[in-house]
């Protein structure tokens, strides 16, 4: 019989402690806050489930949630197909491979707030390259501090610019792992490009694409810094995504109770969607 050695658990211990302090204990505190009211000074009053009920029936929350789903939906619809297309058209061997890979990886190396600031300046109507060009050369009225449509177009373009590379790199990794024999077999059978994509490349990319969609869903659903720096949630409330609204409630108004209730609902949504997606995508793999 094999001897059981449980020493490996000790190596997991540091991670456990870290997770306890940066996730578990703050999370428990948020749960405690969500059922109480405070005016500061560490004095709390029992509030029951009032915050949850108020929030679930508040138009402000529904609107922010709707904007959040719209944002995540749009960027997923753009980034996933675009990423796959770019990965398919990248060279598989030769001099251009590292050039493409490094160029692709560059946007992801830039910190979130820098991305926001960059796009902010880029789109300023009087001095920004894009803003000036649109307004003065093309004559299109483009000002994201005035028009909600321009603001939305800008945050979506920014996110596509920043994160499509992630989908590209993951899809590319899936593509290069396909053995040549598959392509040779397809050639002998006279398969069309579409058939090769549909029956060889897509199934082989399924796992990395699952991870890519999951990561992009979670990241975009929790996005805060970039739209905050770029539009600050405006004009009006038109780009106030869920996280921006949450910070407004928690730190702007110092309503810790409602903010805690909101973050728990936020968390429950992220958890459910991620779990559902992952379970459905990997359902047939486990036999």
């Amino acid at each position: 019989m094999k001897t059981q050695n449980q020493k490996a658990w000790f190596f997991v211990l540091p991670v456990l402690i870290l997770v306890a302090f940066n996730a578990l204990i703050p999370m428990m505190t948020v749960v405690n806050y969500s059922v109480q009211e405070t005016f500061g000074n560490n004095v709390f009053f029992w509030q029951g489930l009032d915050w949850f009920q108020q929030l679930l029936r508040s138009d402000r929350f529904h609107a922010a949630l709707g904007r959040q789903f719209m944002f995540t939906g749009i960027i997923l619809l753009i980034e996933i197909p675009l990423g796959v297309i770019i990965a398919l058209s990248m060279p598989r061997k030769g001099f251009w491979v590292p050039v493409c890979l490094v160029t692709m990886a560059l946007p992801m190396l830039i910190p979130w707030n820098v991305v926001g600031a960059m796009w902010n300046i880029f789109t300023l109507p009087d001095i920004g390259l894009l803003g000036y060009f649109m307004n003065n050369t093309l004559g299109i009225d483009y000002n994201m501090t005035r028009s909600p449509f321009a603001a939305w177009a800008t945050i979506i373009t920014m996110d596509v610019w920043h994160w499509t590379s992630l989908v590209v790199l993951l899809s590319y990794a899936g593509l290069v792992s396909i053995p040549d024999a598959y392509y040779q077999a397809a050639k002998i059978d006279g398969a069309s490009n579409w058939a090769v994509f549909r029956f060889i490349q897509l199934p082989k990319m399924k796992q990395v694409l699952t991870i890519a969609i999951l990561l992009r869903f979670m990241d975009s659903f929790n996005i805060y810094t970039e739209p905050f720096v770029l539009t600050g949630g405006g004009p009006g409330n038109s780009t106030t995504l869920l996280s921006i609204d949450l910070v407004k409630i928690a730190l702007g108004q110092f309503d810790l109770g409602p903010a805690a209730a909101m973050s728990l609902i936020y968390f429950a949504i992220t958890l459910l969607v991620s779990w559902l997606f992952y379970t459905l995508m990997t359902k047939d793999d486990a036999k």
């Binding site: 749960v31 405690n32 429950a268």
Partner: protein, 92 residues
């Protein structure tokens, strides 16, 4: 020391409940390893831990839905939740 966490008894019981459920699962896992894996009625392959996760997540949504659409009190959804948890461990 713990005053900043603003503990209340009801929230403490929630966490005591979750952690003792995890403790029971650990004990069961030591007694019969493998997680009692099976394919349930939803077509998912689940272990005991998965079933606990699904039942807790479902409970959250049942409660939130009732609170949002019908409001207090929450005795009826509590009954639905218990039925859901039993269903999860029995069939899923």
């Amino acid at each position: 020391m713990l005053s900043w966490m603003a503990w209340t008894w009801p929230t403490a019981f929630v966490f005591i409940g979750i952690f003792s459920a995890m403790g029971v699962l650990t004990a069961l896992e030591i007694r019969s390893p493998g997680g009692a894996e099976r394919k349930g009625v939803l077509g998912l392959v689940t272990t005991r831990g998965d079933r606990l996760f699904i039942s807790l997540l479902g409970t959250v949504y049942i409660m939130l839905a009732w609170l949002g659409f019908l409001g207090m009190p929450l005795w009826w959804p509590l009954g639905i939740c218990i039925a859901w948890i039993i269903f999860c461990f029995w069939k899923v």
